[in-house]
C-alpha cells in the first residue's frame, strides 16, 4: 500500500482561504506576557497557525516553539514536542499561548528564542503564519506540506535598535520549563 503526500496539499490552501474569510471560527491568539518587566505581548498566532497547531497537538501531544536562526531552514519558528528541545538560561521565553478553545482544558504552548538572538529581535512583534512549503529541520509540521513562517512588525514601545549588549538575557524561571508551563 502506498500513500503519496501532494506537494501543496489542499488542506493548507483551504486553511489560508478560511483565514481570510469573514466569520472564521478560529481567532488569532495573543501570547501572554512572559518577559520580566514587560506589559505588552510580543508574539501572536494567526488563525491558520492555531488550526494547524491544534491538529498537530492531536497527533503529537504538547508542543513548543523555538525560533531558529541561520542557514537553510532557519530564521523560522521550529515546532517541537514540548520539552524535546532543552531550553536554558541562554533562551528567552517570548510568550506563552493557550491553544485550547474557551472552556476547554488549557493547552499551553511556549515560544522561545535564544537570548543572543532576542538581543537583535527585541524591537519586533512576531505573527506566526503558515504557508505551503516543504521541509523545516525537525519541525513537526513539515510532513503536512506546510511551514510555519514569521511575519514581523515593529513593536510600538520597544527601543527599535537597542544595543544588544544592553538587552539582559532572560532565562526561564526554575518553574517555567516547557513541560510545566
Amino acid at each position: 500500500m502506498t500513500d503519496t503526500i501532494p506537494a501543496h496539499p489542499a488542506a493548507a490552501d483551504d486553511a489560508a482561504a478560511r483565514d481570510t474569510e469573514a466569520g472564521n471560527a478560529t481567532a488569532t491568539i495573543m501570547a501572554s506576557v512572559t518577559v520580566p518587566g514587560e506589559v505588552i505581548p510580543r508574539v501572536e498566532l494567526l488563525p491558520v497557525a492555531v488550526d494547524l497547531l491544534r491538529s498537530l497537538w492531536q497527533e503529537y501531544g504538547p508542543l513548543m516553539f523555538h525560533q531558529s536562526g541561520g542557514c537553510c531552514d532557519g530564521s523560522a519558528p521550529m515546532c517541537f514536542m514540548a520539552g524535546e528541545f532543552i531550553t536554558s538560561d541562554q533562551d528567552v521565553l517570548l510568550g506563552s499561548f493557550d491553544l485550547a478553545p474557551a472552556g476547554d482544558d488549557p493547552q499551553p504552548l511556549d515560544f522561545w528564542m535564544s537570548a543572543e538572538q532576542f538581543g537583535y529581535w527585541s524591537h519586533t512583534f512576531l505573527s506566526i503564519d503558515v504557508v505551503p512549503g516543504r521541509g523545516s529541520g525537525f519541525s513537526a509540521e513539515a510532513p503536512r506540506g506546510v511551514r510555519f513562517l514569521i511575519r514581523s512588525r515593529l513593536m510600538e514601545t520597544a527601543d527599535p535598535f537597542a544595543d544588544p549588549a544592553t538587552v539582559i538575557p532572560v532565562g526561564p524561571d526554575d518553574e517555567t520549563t516547557p513541560e510545566a508551563a
Binding site: T2, A7, G69, G74, G137, P143, F161
Partner: protein, 507 residues
C-alpha cells in the same frame, strides 16, 4: 549559449524515475510504511518524482546495512579506499551534464553554476580526500629508551549525516568524502526539498562502493532525521542546517556521548575599503563582482556575503556602480547556461524571503534594487523567483542580523578600520567574510580580526578542496573541505609499548 532540455523530455540529459525508494545495502528498498512524498522542481513549481518518506524503521534498516558493511570497509587499506574515491570522481566527471541538469532541476540553481562549480567541485573533493588519506601518517614517539607510543587512526564506525538543500550533491560530498576516506560507513539523509539528485548520483555509482557503505534514507526531519541523529547506533552525527535543529542534534549527541559537527549558517560581512576604488581597473571590476556575489546561488549559501560594508568616501560611487552591476544579472530559466540567477529552492523559502523584504521596509531600510517576486511567465510562471534585492540600512536592523538565505543584500557604511571590524563582528555568526583592499597589510589584519572561519581576501565564494571551511560563534563546530575533516571521522588509538625486560618495580 545552451538551453538544456527539461528532464524527462526528448533530448534531455537526465530522466528522473517516477519514484525513488531508499538506497540501502547497495540496492533500492521500499520504505517500510510504503509512503512517498512528491519532489517539486523550483524551476516550475511542479512535482517531478516521488521519493520515499522514510521513518525510524527505514533508518534502522540502513543502520543494519551500515553496521554489516563497517568491519570490512574499516579494514580496507587507505590505498583501496582512495582508489574507490577516485573511481567515484571519474564517474562524476563522466556524467557532468547529467548531474548538473539533475541538480538544477531539483534545486533551481542555474546550470552554469552546477556545470562549473557544484559537480566539478564534488569530483575534486573525492580526489582530495583520496589523496589526503593516502598521505595521512600516524604518529609515534619514543617516550624513553624502552617505551614507544604509537598513534593510529581508526574509523569511528557507522556515522550519520544530514544534508542541506542548497548544494544537495556538493554538501553531501563534503561530508561523504572524508567519512569514506577515513573508513566509516554512512547513513545519509538528504534534505526533503532536494532529495532526488543525490539518488541519481548513487545510482550512477552502482556498486563502486561495497553494499552498505553508503545508505541513503529520504524523509522529513522529524520522521527520519531525528531517528538517525538520536540513534545509539551511530558513532558520530554531522549536520548542516539551522541553529535550533543544530542545538537539538548536539543535544541528541550528548545523550549518546558521540561527537557532532554542525554547520549552522552565517550573516557574512563583505568589507570594501576605500582604496578599492583608487583606480577603475580590473581589480575594481573584480570587487564589483565580489559585491554582486550576494545573489550567487540565489543567496542560498551559508556564507552568502549578505552584509556589504562600504567605507564612507566610496559609499555612494561604489554602491551606485554595484547596484548597476547587480541589475545586469540575468534572471531566467535555470537550464539556460546564460542564466545567472535561478529559482529559490522551495515555496516556503520564497515566502520567507518576501517576509524579510517586508520587515526590512518596516524597519526603515532603503530599497536600492529589486524587492519583488518575479514571474518569468510561460512554463516558469509558478517557479520561485525573487529579484536580486539591495537594501541600505544599519547593522542593528534584523535585515542585517538574520540569515535570509535569499538574494537580499543589506548595505551599510563604515568610518575607519576599527568601525569596519566592529560592525563585521556584531553578529551571532562567524562563518564567512570578505575583505577587499589594495593594501595587503590592511587586508591581512582585517582577515585576522574578523571572527569567522573563512575570510576571503580580494575574492569571494571560492570553495576549493583543501581550504578549511567552518564556523566561529553560532555558525557551528568543526571543519570541512580540508584534511582536518578526517579527524572528525577518526578515533585515535594509542598503543603504548614497552620494549623493556624489567618490571616496573612498584609491587
Amino acid at each position: 549559449m545552451t538551453v538544456y532540455a527539461t528532464p524527462g523530455s526528448a533530448n534531455a540529459k537526465v530522466t528522473f524515475k517516477p519514484r525513488y525508494e531508499n538506497w540501502i545495502g547497495g540496492e533500492w528498498v521500499a520504505p517500510v510504511k510504503g509512503q512517498y512524498f512528491e519532489d517539486i522542481s523550483p524551476v516550475n513549481g511542479k512535482p517531478f518524482t516521488e521519493v520515499a518518506r522514510g521513518t525510524a524503521a527505514d533508518i534502522d534498516l540502513a543502520l543494519d546495512a551500515a553496521h554489516k558493511a563497517a568491519p570490512a570497509w574499516g579494514k580496507t587499506s587507505a590505498t583501496e579506499r582512495a582508489a574507490v574515491l577516485n573511481k567515484i570522481a571519474d564517474i562524476i566527471d563522466a556524467n557532468l551534464e547529467l548531474l548538473a541538469v539533475a541538480e538544477t532541476w531539483d534545486n533551481g540553481k542555474p546550470v552554469r553554476e552546477t556545470l562549473a562549480a557544484d559537480i566539478p567541485l564534488a569530483a575534486d573533493h573525492f580526489r582530495y580526500f583520496a589523496a589526503a588519506i593516502r598521505a595521512q601518517d600516524g604518529d609515534h614517539a619514543q617516550l624513553d629508551g624502552d617505551t614507544v607510543s604509537y598513534q593510529f587512526h581508526e574509523p569511528l564506525g557507522v556515522v550519520g549525516q544530514i544534508i542541506p538543500w542548497n548544494f544537495p550533491i556538493l554538501m553531501a560530498v563534503w561530508k561523504l568524502a572524508p567519512a569514506l576516506a577515513a573508513g566509516n560507513t554512512v547513513v545519509l539523509k538528504p534534505a526533503e526539498q532536494t532529495p532526488a539528485s543525490i539518488l541519481v548520483l548513487i545510482e550512477l555509482l552502482g556498486n563502486v562502493l561495497p553494499p552498505g557503505v553508503v545508505n541513503i534514507v529520504n524523509g522529513f526531519g522529524l520522521e527520519a532525521g531525528k531517528p538517525l541523529a538520536s540513534s545509539p547506533r551511530i558513532r558520530k552525527i554531522a549536520f548542516t542546517g539551522e541553529t535550533s535543529t543544530g542545538r537539538l542534534i548536539l543535544q541528541y549527541a550528548s545523550a549518546n556521548i558521540i561527537p557532532s559537527t554542525v554547520e549552522l549558517g552565517g550573516k557574512s560581512p563583505n568589507i570594501f575599503f576605500s582604496d578599492v576604488a583608487d583606480q577603475n581597473d580590473a581589480f575594481y571590476d573584480k570587487a564589483q563582482e565580489g559585491f554582486a556575489l550576494f545573489a550567487f546561488n540565489q543567496g542560498e549559501v551559508c556564507t552568502a556575503p549578505s552584509r556589504a560594508l562600504l567605507q564612507k568616501p566610496i559609499y555612494e560611487s561604489f554602491l551606485s556602480d554595484a547596484v548597476k552591476r547587480t541589475s545586469l544579472a540575468i534572471q531566467g530559466n535555470p537550464l539556460d547556461t546564460a542564466t545567472q540567477v535561478g529559482a529559490q529552492a522551495s515555496n516556503d523559502q520564497l515566502e520567507k524571503i518576501l517576509s524579510y523584504i517586508d520587515i526590512g521596509k518596516k524597519e526603515g531600510a532603503k530599497l536600492a534594487l529589486g524587492g519583488e517576486r518575479v514571474d518569468l511567465g510561460g512554463d516558469l510562471t509558478d517557479g520561485y523567483y525573487v529579484q536580486p534585492t539591495i537594501f541600505e540600512g544599519h547593522n542593528k536592523m534584523r535585515l542585517f542580523q538574520e540569515e535570509i538565505f535569499g538574494p537580499v543584500l543589506a548595505v551599510t557604511s563604515f568610518e575607519d578600520y576599527d568601525d569596519a571590524i566592529s560592525i563585521a563582528n556584531d553578529t551571532l555568526y562567524g562563518l564567512g567574510a570578505g575583505v577587499w583592499s589594495r593594501n595587503g597589510n590592511v587586508a591581512y589584519r582585517a582577515g585576522r580580526d574578523i571572527q569567522a572561519g573563512r575570510v576571503w581576501v580580494n575574492n569571494y565564494h571560492a570553495y576549493p578542496a583543501g581550504a578549511a571551511f567552518g564556523g566561529y560563534k553560532s555558525s557551528g563546530i568543526g571543519r570541512e573541505n580540508n584534511k582536518l575533516a578526517l579527524g572528525h571521522y577518526q578515533q585515535t588509538k594509542n598503543l603504548l609499548v614497552s620494549y623493556s625486560e624489567n618490571a616496573l618495580g612498584f609491587f
